[in-house]
Symmetry: D2
Subunit: 345 residues, 4 copies
């Protein structure tokens, strides 16, 4: 790094503040209408878009990591992924709190310029849709699909479609979970070609813990973890991936499983923060526009509520929790397996 | 407002996202160095600058309000000011929390590109300096004055200087406090041309409450509130303004004093949030660069600590609290004064 | 206040720390089971109950204020109410954030002692139910009514019932809104005995602003604000109260309406914070117990979601926003009315 | 776990709410003085003490872990410690935010009951002093030592003294760092009995990076990392511990170093959160009592500022950052060492 020869860097040039700070042109100003809060409206949306860009930057790095055909545990890959997803969560926490700034705009103050914005709508944030797609939201699962196509320019529709066609984090995590190296341990797998020795024991322990009224849960258990060579109907995780995710949750104390456990946890945290953001967004919209339609013609808060309820990406991972057994009921791990899960030293 | 004839507004055009989202050009990329975190470094500083722009927008509105030679209480002016300063506080709360995102960048990851940024420094944020100046920080009070001049381009020095030469909020608030209409009430002021009837009583009550050891406080009391026709040495608030601020704090329940009390409170809150921001900034810098000098050559955390301790703008208002008496010791207000402080109905 | 004769106060005695810090007896300890996280489980619930006590303390003060047959605007009553409700919101913000501490308890760690708690459940928090009742939640609106009766001891059922039979804040606010003094202004009311002059004009302006597709909104408008001598079906606010709430929202800049506007705003904020709390609670429960039934036999997250969607107390106030007109379309206020809404001076 | 035979657990009994909710007896009530805010004052301090109890519970677990003469990396010990310290940070975040609730109490409202509390003071919180002592604050480092002894009952002084005489986390972490297993690697250590091969190379690289003006830094470098068989004067970390902490920071990507790195990071975070808490406490005190002396006779905000500046426990770890080299300047690790730092599989 030849420090001496580089041109000195100046703060405002480095940050391209001439672009950033000259990108606010209120519609009300163009019309000669006094609406002092339109500046806030523009600035806060720009701040959101900056953060969305950063989130996409981080997710893209994580996606590339999991897109490798194999990820050796001794590389910093999983560590790096966890680190970046934690950052995504921190950003989303700021995004949630930031909503409080917009809530300082009263409904009446918004009405001063609201009509001038039609039909623009936060709904048209391509980056937000790309974040959802990168995480794993399919077009088919989108709340208000038809409506959404009608609101975007063709080139923007294309960008979202393209993001939807790449392998999402959801898909990549499923594949990565299915490849966990510990399943190759002989004692984990056992002799029987079709059943894992560990899972036979776990299923027995699980069955023991069920009361009469809960016996039907066993069918669900089997449909997720056992009876399948392919993806269970309606699920994004194959049985192998679900079993391994569960194993990670149960034995997260083992060195090799610590980072994978952090990863699963942080993915659920991303979902939760997105949900908190949507929920707070709903409140803000309800307070600002009541039951009116949104500027883009959406049903406003109703639309958002639909999205908030249906756009959980890693839902299936969250649900595995239902099948956890307390530690004192867990099958003892064979020594060779414990060994395989440890550090070298 | 002729809605029909306006060109439809599209989200990404309205927000000028082509500028906002294309203003990130990492130095490391130019050099072909892998430094994935430089994007975060750029984006978060841009987000800060957006917020600083918004804060300046709000402060400018408030400054204009107080720059009027008279502000009648029946106009929405004070209400509007309080509202805008509350928003400034909310933004500063986000700014404080946002620091947590930067703290996800580890010292080692920062070192990957830190040398490439020299001599750029957050110190060169003109907008932040303008915020301080608009609130009331004088050039003479700036920590590290000489240093700061050497770091900015001449045109940036000019912008800050100009902001420093306008009437600051601190100056305007002092004048506004000195003009409070209730001082014209006969019974408040009393017959004596030199002393307010109310303040004679308040001083007596204050004196009664002092223990022997505290008797010297009376001299301070007098130097702030009483013995002066001009500004007490080293103070930004004249005696009249200090007395009226105190009166507002004591009788904030009276209708006419409610908004002025909110205003004084929110000014202290602005100071507190700025201090929290500086404090958190110090921690972040210490964690990221330890005791090294900053990229701009400042002494890093040391410089920030100096600024954090000395840049309180409304310090004198905060200190008035020391002279409050408990309600049961307060002089009773004359009826005509209570009347003057009420609603018409 | 005779300071000298009082017994000196000592921190730990004043706070009764012998009680507070000796009230944690983990069930797991009684059973000789190692479950290090049960302490957290106990402590956080106790912290919640302390805050609930404080919230009830504040709400009770506010309820007493509004239970007065008349509240003169020149008393500190409304100011005091707003102040206390703001504090309630701050407490609820802490309550929401506090959930993040409980989320540090992993599902597996909870399973170590979960079975020992049966059938205890957060559902049995009487104070939380009393908060809901004090605000205005009727027994009939409670999600899972029958279930709830079955879970409480008879004396606890009585406490909640009693709270439900007192005049709630919702009821008291409706009555207070209906009594607003400005409705007595001749020019506000006009000559016609049945119609307010102001509202005739407002209705006209509202009608003008509706597009063809929105014409049906007028029926809703009339059902809420106009066509009624009694409470519109299914509504907690009478037409007079709704009209006055709306008037307050529209002319909040007028001195006499500033505090009432703050009050309406903070009531909505209380609802929002309670909703955020419920929402975050749902996430925490889902993460910790998945889709299992709660320890008390409730359907866990499902129950909470039901409550989160239906327990908005001041919903009708929030909905009024839908009928706001932009400032430039507002009827001009008669001078005598503006006078009535001002300060004396 | 024999579920059937246990007595059913009821929420209010489990949480001992009879104790918790009957431990608030305002002094103002005893005196027949109206002071509605004293309840808040009591409740918030009790909530703090509950959290302090929880923090001590977690720290005690961590202390026990590090008090073991050896901690094998394949046990869940370090994982558990990091997990618990993260929880401590989350609690401290709540503690910081909680200060905002107390800030809703105005100075005047505090004066209604302030004199009744003398000489009680938050200064007398034994648990807080025990937290500081458990982390590693020595009696000698305490700001205002003499003062503090005079304020506590003899039995409370004893409790703090006892906590100060146990091995603190600071001491234990130093010992644990000095025992890191990777130092036994032959290639790390090299042939020379007195110098580590790695550190010879690192020192060379560090020296190369220094400009003329910075050459003196090398002396500091040597005094911390090299020239010592014992503890460098004034330092809590021995050279071995400092070297290993540094090595962990530099190669945190290696599996064996990931958790140790998390641990070091979270210890700094604990310090930062404590500092934020003290800082916000200072503001709250300044706003509430101005420059008066505290109820216990301390100099209020001045005392707190002293403590805030001098009570950093893991300061030396934070300072190591100054000696980090960018990745591209790091000595390459020998293969056998990389192997030693990896997973078995």
């Amino acid at each position: 790094m030849e420090k001496k020869e580089r041109k000195p860097v100046y703060y405002s040039e480095y940050l391209q503040l001439d672009k950033i700070l000259n990108a606010q042109q209120p519609e009300s100003e163009k019309e000669g209408i006094k609406a002092d809060d339109e500046m806030l409206f523009i600035v806060i949306h720009q701040a959101y878009e900056l953060w969305f860009k950063q989130i996409l930057h981080e997710l893209e790095i994580v996606r590339k990591i999991f897109n490798q055909s194999n990820i050796h545990h001794n590389t910093p890959d999983i560590y790096n992924s966890v680190h970046r997803l934690k950052r995504v969560c921190k950003i989303l926490e700021v995004a949630v709190m930031q909503m409080g700034v917009l809530e300082t705009m009263t409904p009446l103050d918004f009405l001063d310029f609201r009509d001038l914005l039609r039909p623009a709508s936060g709904f048209q944030s391509i980056q937000f849709k790309m974040i959802e797609a990168t995480l794993g939201l399919h077009y088919e699962q989108r709340h208000g699909k038809a409506y959404y196509l009608s609101q975007l320019t063709p080139s923007d529709v294309d960008r979202v479609k393209q993001a939807e066609h790449e392998l999402s984090l959801l898909v990549l995590i499923d594949k990565w979970l299915a490849r966990m190296p510990f399943v190759n341990n002989k004692e984990y797998w056992g002799d029987d070609n079709n059943k894992s020795a560990f899972w036979t024991k776990y299923r027995d322990a699980y069955t023991d813990g069920l009361s009469e009224a809960e016996k039907q849960n066993l069918m669900v258990f089997d449909s997720i973890f056992i009876n399948t060579t392919d993806y269970p109907v309606g699920r994004s995780f194959c049985a192998e991936a679900s079993r391994n995710a569960m194993f990670i949750m149960l034995y997260r104390d083992q060195p090799l499983l610590q980072l994978p456990y952090e990863l699963l946890t942080i993915l659920l945290e991303v979902d939760e923060q997105l949900s908190m953001w949507r929920h707070r967004h709903i409140h803000m919209v309800q307070r600002t526009i009541g039951k009116r339609v949104g500027t883009g013609g959406s049903t406003g808060a109703e639309y958002l509520r639909g999205a908030a309820d249906s756009h959980y990406i890693f839902k299936e991972l969250a649900e595995l929790t239902s099948f956890l057994l307390p530690r004192h009921m867990l099958p003892e791990l064979p020594k060779s397996l414990i060994d395989d899960l440890g550090y070298k030293q």
